[in-house]
Symmetry: C2
Subunit: 460 residues, 2 copies
């Protein structure tokens, strides 16, 4: 499977060759059996040949490829289109795809697109563009099958046969009343398995889950995944059915949101462009704000060290264990925070679980801390002292280091698990409370603990 | 929407109340309109009441709820079932769900399940269980609609009406020849929109994407998302159709794999249990191996500090900036590594892009490094020296710190972006090369650079 990917280089060479020898019919035969997504991915390396390739494809496949291209490639292609060609492509597009494309284009291109799509589509695109980014309304399509409760199964099947070709999906049909209120739904399976004279109102499913136009797209996508639906109906404030969100769009939303979460966890401002398409400046802008902020915060940790300068000068050996303490604290904290962040975003944990989470982390921290301290104590006394003969590593010094380790792990786990929950509670994005942020806090805490232990045990 | 979640506490109270007053009919009426996934999520808090709730539900809904429960809850419930009840539930299950459940149960329960499901299902479950975990075969279902190329549309619709109720999906039908080789597919839409006497072989789609039973489940799920399919056919080594993977299972796989990646990135061994269901010991076991390994590695960083002890004693001010340098390096490295890891797992980056990635990171690192160094230089001279009157912060000291910063950022970005790519190349999981691992390496590098600069500029 996935041959298109494995033989990418080979395919590109073949295409190049057909091009040079102007064997367009053979090129067409090569592309025809491929999936749209695979042709689109090849287009990324075809540059100025894309418009030619595009004209070789049957218009339905061409439109499918168009949808799968990156927005810069779409823009270039639109510029190369005659008005007639643009109209042809637009006629083949599903409404939600057209709206997605329009959203990404500069104003001039948008005007040209809206001028060349049919009035019905223009109206619907404008409708969808009104909804805020990341809302259910912005990812829905208005091309769904609607039925009336009074229809018979025969009527319904006729209606589907008549209007089906233009609908994004016919797998689920929605039943509305005369004021377009959503009152039920039917899968195509139910319809096919029913008798021809059954009445829709009698066989439809009345227990509905619907989303509102302004609901967050991530919540909608999660609901689709959770309930194993192929589509979710979208209603407006008056409960009128205005569109549906299909499962293929939900998968895209889930992928995007995960990428965003992961980026936030790594202290990067999220962007929705693929990595290799982002310019150096854009990548820089996404990364530098957190780097600056975290750098400034880390200087507080430095202040702590500076204020204990005399203690460190008296026992220079202590300096050598600062990285180990800081790193271990950071790692423990990030384990806890990342676990909680993912749990929150999967809906497995809510703020109501605050004390359960803390209690669990406390116990885990105790065993982790003791294990690390024991391993470290053994290493200090056997390797550093006996093997390498470092006489500065005395039992009291080892006690300071290992005591600090236990307390640091404890603090790290508690801070790491509670901050994402608190962030969620006050309406912040918990993903921001991940490793880098936690590390900076835990660094400071671990040093303060270290010097407390040092002055208590070593009397510095 | 999502009312079941919002009113969870209220609902649980109501259920409790109906229970106490033995109002089972009212309890049933409360539950009937709810989605199976929501009832299952309530069950987590109903404990010993679950079997009673279960018996109140119509058997179809009961089976759907059963599928959505956690495996411990399923096990408890199976223990409470009479043999007749167990058989009833099993009869309602889809095959792939039954196989999933069997996989999670202890041997005794598995035996009991296999004894009570019908022989056809027993055979199929045993078939699916043979495939390795995480393979396409292990998540597929064998309940799909198969058609022959010689059938007319009318024949096909009849066959679907007859066999449809037991199939997981009828939205896509697969066409096989007499040796069960997959030769085409048809959506239900194509079937419905065709004429009754059209022949399947003429209207079916012949360009197929199929996966093999042993393909990785994540690749299969990604393909479903990429091509916007509702199901993918699974074939054996002889290209015979043996099952299909449906999009709802693909979403679950994608979610699990993302959680696993995120856990690995945070230096946690992945587990597939929800956080709050994991025991302290299990969480400990998942977290301690990396903590120990990283702690030991961090001691090398300590060795570097120890070996420059005399330099640090001569210029104690340098110690105060160690945390800032280590943290900034770690953050820069983790930004790069996490970006590359995510790009790899989305298929946006491959090893072939190695030098493009490095070249991009090099440029980003240059601008990030210079920005951080400039900001830091200003802060050192204006805040630390002028404002706080720290006379030890001289221009040469600031030069050492800022020079180190630029070089550290450069190394961090290059190490952070190249290690995941190299890991992928040699067949390791790139996710392991995330922040904690990179941080440990970058810490050591940044200190070595620091002391080089210090000895060069300050002559220590």
């Amino acid at each position: 499977m996935f041959e298109a990917q494995a033989h990418r280089a080979e395919l590109l060479e073949k295409i190049e060759d057909f091009f040079n020898r102007k064997r367009y019919a053979e090129l067409r035969d090569l592309l025809l059996p491929m999936e749209a997504a695979d042709i689109a991915s090849l287009c990324a390396d075809l540059d100025e040949k894309v418009p030619v390739v595009f004209r070789l494809l049957p218009k339905e496949l061409a439109a499918e490829v168009f949808v799968e291209l990156d927005s810069d490639e779409q823009e270039l292609l639109i510029h190369s289109f005659s008005n007639a060609e643009l109209k042809e492509v637009l006629d083949e597009l599903y409404l939600d795809d057209a709206a997605d494309i329009v959203e990404e284009m500069p104003a001039g291109v948008v005007k040209r697109i809206l001028r060349h799509c049919d009035p019905e589509m223009r109206k619907s695109i404008n409708e969808i563009l009104k909804y805020p980014e990341d809302s259910a309304g912005s990812i829905m399509t208005t091309e769904f099958v609607d039925l009336k409760a009074t229809m018979t199964v025969e009527d319904a099947l006729k209606r589907i046969r008549r209007t089906g070709p233009d609908k994004e999906t016919i797998n689920i049909c929605y039943v509305i009343d005369e004021r377009r209120h959503l009152i039920g739904l039917l899968t195509i399976r139910t319809l096919l398995l029913a008798e021809e004279d059954d009445v829709i109102g009698d066989i439809m499913e009345r227990n509905l889950i619907a989303v509102q136009t302004l609901d967050d797209q991530e919540a909608v996508a999660r609901a689709l995944g959770k309930y194993d639906f192929l589509a979710l109906p979208v209603v407006d404030k008056e409960d009128r059915l205005v569109g549906i969100v299909t499962v293929d769009d939900a998968i895209d939303v889930l992928q995007e949101e995960v990428t965003e979460d992961i980026e936030k966890m790594a202290a990067i401002l999220p962007s929705d462009k693929p990595y290799l398409k982002t310019s150096t400046l854009e990548t820089y802008k996404a990364r530098i704000p957190w780097l600056l902020l975290l750098m400034i915060s880390a200087t507080f940790t430095g202040q702590i060290i500076a204020s204990f300068e005399s203690a460190l000068a008296a026992a220079t050996i202590l300096t050598a264990y600062i990285p180990m303490l800081m790193d271990s604290g950071g790692n423990c904290g990030s384990q806890a925070s990342v676990t909680v962040i993912r749990g929150l975003s999967l809906g497995e944990i809510t703020f109501a679980d605050f004390f359960r989470v803390l209690w669990k982390e406390l116990r885990v921290a105790m065993v982790c801390g003791v294990t690390l301290a024991a391993a470290n104590f053994a290493k200090l006394m056997l390797v550093d002292r006996l093997l390498f003969g470092n006489t500065m590593v005395t039992a009291p010094v080892a006690a300071v280091i290992c005591g600090t380790l236990v307390c640091t792990v404890l603090c790290a786990k508690l801070v790491g698990s509670s901050l994402p929950l608190l962030a969620k509670r006050i309406g912040f994005d918990p993903a921001v409370m991940a490793s880098p942020f936690i590390t900076t806090i835990v660094d400071a805490i671990s040093l303060l603990i270290y010097f407390q232990f040092a002055s208590a045990i070593l009397g510095l």
